[in-house]
Structures are given as structure tokens and as C-alpha cells.
Amino acid sequence: MIEAFLALFPAAVLAQAPAIMVAAPMLGAALATVLPGGRPAWVVALFCSLITAVFAFVLLFQTWGGEVISYAMGGWAPPLGIEFRIDGLNAPVLLLLGVLSLLGVIFALPSVADEIAPRKQSLFYATFLVCLTGLIGVTSTGDAFNMFVFLEISSIATYILVAMGAEQDRRALTASFNYLVLGTIGATFFVIGVGFLYMATGTLNMHDMALRLVELDDNRVVQVAFAFVIVGLGLKAAMFPLHVWLPNAYSFAPSFVTAFLASTATKVAFYTLIRFIFDVFSVEAPFVSAAFVWVIAALGVIGMIAASVQANFQTDARRLLAFSSVGQLGYMLLGLGIGTAAGVTAGVLHLLNHALMKGALFMALGVFAIRYGVRSINDLRGLGRTMPATASAFSVAGLSLVGIPMTVGFVSKWYLVSAALDRGWWWAVAAIAVSSLLALGYVGRLLASIWLQSPPERALMAAKDRIPVMMLAPMWVLAIANVWFFFDATPIVELARGAAEAALAGAPR
């Protein structure tokens, strides 16, 4: 099947796949800027994300057996030139980006038409495509400085996207500004770290850097670089104490943006963390392994409990889910912190699964918002009766978030617990249990409000038109995926396992 799929493309196209992934949305962005209205721009965005999704599959299949694709930008051979390097670790992330951006764009048309002024819609799609370009670039590049550049491209586009929520709620502007300040700090930290690394190794190519770092464990410059990179990327990924930007940004951005960002942007930042910790640095370096236990795993555990507690106190549904995202990120960090192949597998698995859950959840909230304009948990009451289809999808994804069996949430929690047990980390297992209970608490609040309470009178009158199928379809695809991949977990588990192998392969020591 894989061969049949790959045989559809000429060899020349296959060879250019990494560049096509980045170039397509970039060209699309330029094109969308000059298009007159929202709908043509949307067509461009749809086309670009379709290309991205298709080529994400191409790249995934090409790297399936542990192959590594090295693509020399402009024909300049690495390590001097900029290299795009696709391996088992970033191919799944690219797939995630491709598929979720495609689903997101399908979802976007009615949602954006509702939330963004018509005049700005084409620019909105252009910005989205720039953001996608940046995210894909970050994921595929093999060059540390190039990664910074793409990171900034995606971040700046993200600030704009978040600020677009201002038409609904002026607070989106402060949220975006905050995000900008902190994101810039994160990026600066990262680039400082990269600078230090360049100073110590004399190279910017990450693979080359890894080879040279093998002998530099005791180098203080390298250690400082490590600290800057971890903190910088941790901020981008909303690692626990550095997550403050996230809740506001998610709750005031347009619905589509939240759904898209929640399932991709932090995931990409998290990928860069894995790339740096495991691939560029090495788990075997003493300062890295110490940082695992004392920083990454510890913050992961604290984060997954503290943020879950905080989520329990929220009144705004989107804010609640945003805090839950921070908590869920704790699981992934814990997976990393365990530091074994099983741990990284669990982390990546949860990364993929969490994208499925949160994508569906935020999309469902978007549907609620377009129909009734509801945001707070209180407003959700009775939606089970008035919008059963959306509410069911929301519930499925919500249960998956808790980790109920028969959903993917259970699978990834499962792997995480096994990985923690292999390492003998009982406290981590206990923390996972506590955090799951907390998750049950906040998801329970949402579901209780949706299903058990009766709808307010006005809800029945204020109903707008029927919900567009274009919003329902991607949401249901994600919700079904949440169940499907429990019963057929092999594909995603294999993806995660491949990613872990690629991450741990690192440089030979």
C-alpha cells in the first residue's frame, strides 16, 4: 500500500517533498494576501493544506523504516548549508501538522466567516498559511538557526492570529501582546542558547552539532546553552511555570485559531524540545540526565497537577481547556523525563493523542460559539439536548481527555504508566492517578453542564441556522479517531515508537 501510494508521484517530486511542504503554504500565503475576499483565500488555504497533508504522508512513508531524508536547501551540502532533515521523529509531527491543518481549514470557513470581518479574511488566511509555513519549517529543518527563524515566523503569525480575536473580545489584544512579549523572551533564550552552542561547536547543523557535543560534556558553555535552550523552548511549549501566556491566548483567539494552535503549535515546540534534549544533546550527558529528573519530570508532574487544579476553578470553557492543555503537557514532559525509549514513546504518543482530543474539543466549542455565542461553562447547559451531535463529539473527546478506556487517552496514559513503572517511579504513577481524577473533575463539570442541566429558554430562541456540515465533519473525524485508535492502536503506537527510536539514536557515544 505504501509503495502504491508513493508510486503515484514522480521520483523528482518525491525527492523535493521536504521543500514542497514548506514552499506550498509560503506561496499560498503570498497569493492569499492579494486575493480580494475570504472565500478565494480559503480555497488557496485549503489547497495548500491539502498539499501539506499529502506530502506529510509521503514523507512519513519514506521514513517509515527508520530512513533519514536529508534535503540540502539550495544544493548547499550540510553541515555548511541549510539542511532539511526528516526522520522518524519529525515525520509524525509533520503528519499531525498536515492532517490537522487540513481539518482545521475545512472547519474554518464558516467559523471565520462568523468571527472575522470580511475585509480581513484574506489576510487572516494568509497569516494562517504563514504560521503553517513556520511550523512546518521548524519541524523539518535540521539547522538550529534556521529553526529559530522559522520559530519566529510561526510565532509572529500566531500573535497576529490571536489578536484577530479582538473583534469578538478586545481582551484578545492584551492576550496577544502578552504572548508576544513572552514568546519573544522564549525565542531570545533559544537563540542565545543556539549562539552558545555555535560558540562551543562551531556548527549550526544540529546533526553535526550532536556529533561534536559528544566530547563536550564538561564544557560549561554547553551546559549554559542547554539551560537557555530548555527554558526558551519550554516557554514556547507552555511548560508549567512558563505557561501563563497560554490560557489567555487560547481563550480570546478566534475559535479556529484556538483549535489549530492547541493541536499543533505547542506540539511543535514540544517536538523541538525532544529534538534538542535527545538528539542534539544526549540523555547520557550527566547534566542532561540530572535535568530530566529535577527539571523536566518534576515540572511535568507539578504542572499536570497544578494546572489541572487550576482548570477545575475556571468558569470559561475555553480557559478551562487551555489549563487542561498545560496539564496534559505535563504528561508529555513526564514521558520525556523518564528518559527511556518507553518514556519518549509515551510522550510522543500523548502528543499525537492530545492533538486529536483538543482539536475536537476546541472545534466543538467553536460550534457552540457560532450557534449560541457561548463561552462560559454555565452557558453550556442543556446543549446535549439542543445540539446532540456536537455535544456527543465533545463528550467523546472529553472522555478521551480523562483517559477512559475505549479512547486513545487511555492508551497514552497506559504507556506512560508502564514507562514510569519500568523506571520504578511510583510517585509519577500516583501523580498520574491524581491528575486523572482532577481531569475527571473538570471534564465532569463540562459534561454535567451539557447533559444534565436543562437548556435556558433563550437558547431555544437564539438559535441561528443549522450547523454547517463543514464544521461538524472535521470535528467528528477527530472524535471518531479518538475511539478508533484505541481499538486499532498499532499505527499511532508505531509512529510514537519510531519517533522514540529516532530521538534516542542520537550521536554514537
Binding site: A19, A23, T33, V34, G74, G75
Partner: protein
């Protein structure tokens, strides 16, 4: 009698020079410090100077905002288009070598870099100007009496 006669005359002399200097920086970017980014800023400065002297409205007439938007897009298209061209000619993305058959003098490299830098120039020029317009458009112009 316009009180800014001196400024107007001087700026009318200077603006073409600034723009030409921008282009000079651009074309130098090929083999010495310089390039599309700096050139874009310089050219944009030319327009800004015009706006300072003659007013933003005048500048908007000379360089309308829609051209700015189009310029930004066009710049990116040029940049990305060079990459696509190199694909079509059988190279990697942005592999300039394939753009020109003369490899002895690296003509492809020269051509590619200049084209790409033109894209950069356009985009930077447009974006800088867009930012300027956005900020300048917020406050009313300084009235003549306060000069």
C-alpha cells in the same frame, strides 16, 4: 508661499539619490555587504521622507497602500518563484546553479541571488512602508502652524 520651500527642494533632490543608493546596496549584495533587506529599508526611507515633507496623504497617493500589500505578496512570490524555477530546472529548492548554464563564472549563482534579493527588497520595502502607514495613519498630521 509654502514655509517648507527649502525642505521641499532639498528632499526632491535627495529622494532619487536615496532610492538609487538603495538599489546600489541591493546589487552590491551579490558580492559584498549589502543586499535586499538593507536596500528595501533604504528605498522605504525614501518614501517616508517624502511623506514627512509632503504629508502622508501625498505619499499615499504616490505609493498607494494596495501596492504595498501587493508588493509584499509579490516579493514573496518572487522569492518562492525562484525556488520553483530551480525545481523546474531540475535542481533542489533555491539551487541557483541550475538557473544559468554558465558554470564557469557561477552565473547561475549571481542571477539567483539577485532575483531572490529583489524579492526580499520588495517585501521589506512594502512591509516597512505598511508599518509606517499603519502608525502614521493613526495620528493627524502635524498642522503647518506648528512648524
Amino acid at each position: 508661499m509654502n514655509p517648507h520651500m527649502v525642505l521641499r527642494v532639498v528632499s526632491k533632490l535627495l529622494i532619487p539619490i536615496i532610492i538609487v543608493f538603495g538599489l546600489y546596496v541591493h546589487f552590491h549584495g551579490d558580492y559584498s555587504p549589502g543586499g535586499g533587506f538593507q536596500a528595501g529599508v533604504l528605498v522605504a526611507v525614501g518614501v517616508m521622507l517624502y511623506a514627512l515633507i509632503y504629508g502622508v496623504e501625498e505619499a499615499r497617493r504616490a505609493v498607494p497602500p494596495w501596492t504595498v500589500r501587493a508588493g509584499a505578496a509579490l516579493g514573496v512570490l518572487v522569492f518562492a518563484g525562484v525556488g520553483v524555477a530551480s525545481w523546474i530546472l531540475g535542481g533542489n529548492y533555491l539551487e541557483y546553479e541550475v538557473l544559468h548554464p554558465d558554470t564557469a563564472y557561477k552565473a547561475g549563482q549571481h542571477l539567483g541571488i539577485i532575483l531572490v534579493e529583489i524579492g526580499v527588497l520588495l517585501t521589506v520595502f512594502s512591509v516597512i512602508l505598511a508599518i509606517f502607514y499603519a502608525f502614521a495613519g493613526r495620528a493627524p498630521d502635524i498642522p503647518d502652524e506648528e512648524w
